[in-house]
């Protein structure tokens, strides 16, 4: 009876404690990140801009009829901006504005997808390498070195041309396969530091397996580095994807990206006289990349500051 009673007491205390905990500062990191962004005007504006653009683009593309946008209309080729076509039409008579919306959506989505795939792989690779150290680390880092010196743009292009059943997914996988090394290196050097700390050794003595220590003990301690790096990578990956699409080896043709619109500018007449086709896409890529970078840099400052305090 009394046992039951005290148990309830604890639970009550615990829940009160939990509330208090939420009011107090928690070292979860995300809160500190959020506070830093609120303080940094440029980062805040960038974040709002980015969220707004994403919402608009994903919102409109829900109502937009994709078939209508990519349908070739031989009677409306290369029209200048008008009420019907806000940004004119391209060489196939397709509405440029519609393509811009869908292109932005695709570029953002692929950017996220590639960042996630390459990030997940790079993090696991790096944390395993750093945690185990020694020969394993040595071997894994030689692999990273090898991938680092590959002319990756060329190799991605070759892969893209020879892969059977080419799709958005295969493209994302190919691109991820050649850009995971940076994050792997960063995470590895952080994991090397973490494994020297007693808490990792303590977990060993308490009977936790290596896998459990890596994922439950070490990884939570490097989340801020992961968040910062992934954000900066997102900006870079949007650039790489649009660059490859610009060359014609990015997203498949039925999935236009911002780079696809840019590639129309390889036609000198389009470049010189029909700026409305490619310039908005160029500006969007630039501004989106800058916005994401601003957020990333603010997060980085927050993470650095916390490291100093700790």
């Amino acid at each position: 009876m009394s046992e039951n009673h005290s148990h309830k007491d604890i639970e009550q205390q615990v829940s009160e404690q939990q509330k208090e905990q939420e009011v107090q500062k928690s070292p979860s990191g995300l809160r500190i990140f959020w506070r830093e962004i609120l303080k940094d005007k440029l980062a805040l504006i960038s974040l709002i801009f980015f969220v707004l653009v994403s919402m608009i683009v994903f919102g409109i593309s829900l109502i937009l009829d994709l078939d209508e946008v990519v349908k070739i209309d031989p009677f409306a080729i290369h029209q200048p901006p008008s009420d019907e076509f806000l940004l004119g039409t391209d060489k196939g008579g397709r509405d440029v504005f519609g393509q811009l919306i869908i292109g932005t959506r695709n570029s953002l989505a692929i950017g996220f997808l590639v960042t996630l795939i390459s990030g997940a792989f790079g993090i696991i690779f790096g944390v395993v390498s750093g945690y185990f150290g020694g020969h394993i680390d040595n071997f894994l880092m030689r692999i990273v070195d090898f991938f680092m010196v590959l002319p990756f743009i060329m190799i991605i292009i070759v892969f893209v041309t020879i892969v059977p059943r080419y799709s958005v997914w295969t493209f994302s996988l190919i691109m991820s396969a050649f850009i995971w090394m940076g994050i792997a290196r960063l995470i590895r050097s952080k994991a090397l530091q973490e494994r020297e700390l007693d808490y990792a050794q303590a977990s060993r003595t308490l009977g936790s397996s290596h896998t459990s220590i890596i994922f439950k003990q070490v990884l939570p301690n490097i989340t801020s580095l992961v968040v910062v790096t992934m954000t900066l990578n997102l900006a870079a990956n949007i650039g790489i994807e649009s660059g490859l699409s610009f060359l014609g080896f990015g997203l498949p043709e039925d999935t236009p990206s911002l780079g696809t619109l840019m590639s129309y500018a390889t036609n000198p007449t389009t470049l010189e006289e029909r700026w409305w086709i490619w310039a908005p896409a160029a500006a969007l890529i630039l501004v989106l990349m800058l916005a994401v970078r601003n957020v990333g840099e603010a997060l980085k400052r927050a993470a650095d500051a916390r490291q100093r305090r700790a």
Binding site: Q17, Q21, L197, D198, Y199, Q201, R204, L206, G207
Partner: protein, 308 residues
């Protein structure tokens, strides 16, 4: 029956070099160490930094690869950390209470980690066990949901103790458990550990460089120098009748609070220092390593060269 028996333990770390990064030499961190610990006692392992005492502790714990030798726990031979049920019986308390607790984990997750690894408890059972453990080490149940950074050094070390006793181990290895704490807190934590030892019938392997702490805590003491034992005996034997010149110097260096004895102490230390310099080669071989241990009494062993 002996609880822990270490036979000819060697832990060498390779030095790599040359073009192919091959092993060219080794650091002999622990180089042939033998000792036994009886159940219920506190065994002190003393030495300066680099003497191999921590490496010995970690080797027993299974955190270092053993180059040579055997470690028996009861009747069972411990190999490279594969005997799960025995590992459960040996736990460790770390030197630095700041880095030994994961800063991202709440206290309940830290203390429950061993329980989650070895016992299948429901959430409520787990909470109750953690609460009991916290109370045993003198912390309140409210601490459960806090993060380590909200505690002082002494409190953190208590959390470390709670985690170590969660699995009801027989042997606890304490690696300089109080040297990172304020002197005022040290005594408090040490006394609490002694109480805990009686209450839970624990055996301690106490690693320290601080002789006054060791004198206070330990029943028997082993002195290490450069990876080898120089002397082993009961606390009384070591402090009242040190045989090896290295032990003599260590004991002479213990500070005395009484200012009246200051002059006397200084003279005594000078004297020991002189003896140390003069007779260094009588006690250490040409590599500066200690000789084999020779028994003087049943409990007292000293590393002295073969005479004559």
């Amino acid at each position: 029956m002996t609880l822990l028996k270490v036979e000819d333990l060697k832990v060498h770390f390779p030095i790599r070099g040359g073009i192919l990064n091959r092993k060219i030499d080794a650091i002999r961190a622990v180089d042939g160490v033998n000792f036994e610990i009886e159940p219920g006692e506190t065994y002190g392992l003393v030495g300066e930094s680099g003497s191999g005492k921590t490496t010995t502790g970690k080797a027993v714990m299974g955190l270092n690869n053993i180059t040579n030798g055997e470690i028996y726990f009861g009747d069972e031979l411990l190999n490279k950390g594969n005997k799960v049920n025995i590992r459960k019986d040996i736990q460790m308390i770390f030197q630095d209470p700041y880095s030994s607790l994961n800063p991202r984990k709440r206290v309940i997750d830290i203390i429950a980690e061993p329980l989650r690894n070895y016992e299948n408890l429901s959430k409520d059972e787990e909470k109750k066990r953690v609460k009991d453990l916290l109370e045993k080490v003198g912390l309140t149940a409210e601490s459960m949901l806090k993060y380590p950074h909200e505690f002082s050094g002494g409190q953190r070390q208590r959390i470390g103790v709670a985690r170590a006793i969660a699995l009801e181990p027989k042997l606890i290895i304490m690696d300089e458990p109080v040297s990172a704490l304020d002197v005022s807190v040290q005594a408090q934590v040490l006394n609490f550990m002694q109480d805990l030892q009686k209450e839970l019938n624990l055996t301690y392997l106490f690693i320290s460089h601080d002789l006054s702490v060791v004198k206070h805590m330990c029943d028997r003491i082993g002195i290490m120098y450069n990876g080898r034992y120089v002397e082993e005996g009961t606390t009384k034997e070591i402090f009242n009748d040190p045989q090896h010149i290295y032990t003599k110097r260590l004991v002479a260096a213990i500070p005395d609070i009484d200012p009246k004895n200051r002059k006397e102490n200084t003279n005594f230390r000078e004297q020991v220092k002189e003896e140390y310099t003069n007779s260094y080669y009588d006690y250490f071989d040409e590599d500066g390593l200690a000789y084999q241990l020779k028994p003087i009494t049943d409990t007292h062993r000293v590393a002295l060269p073969e005479r004559g």
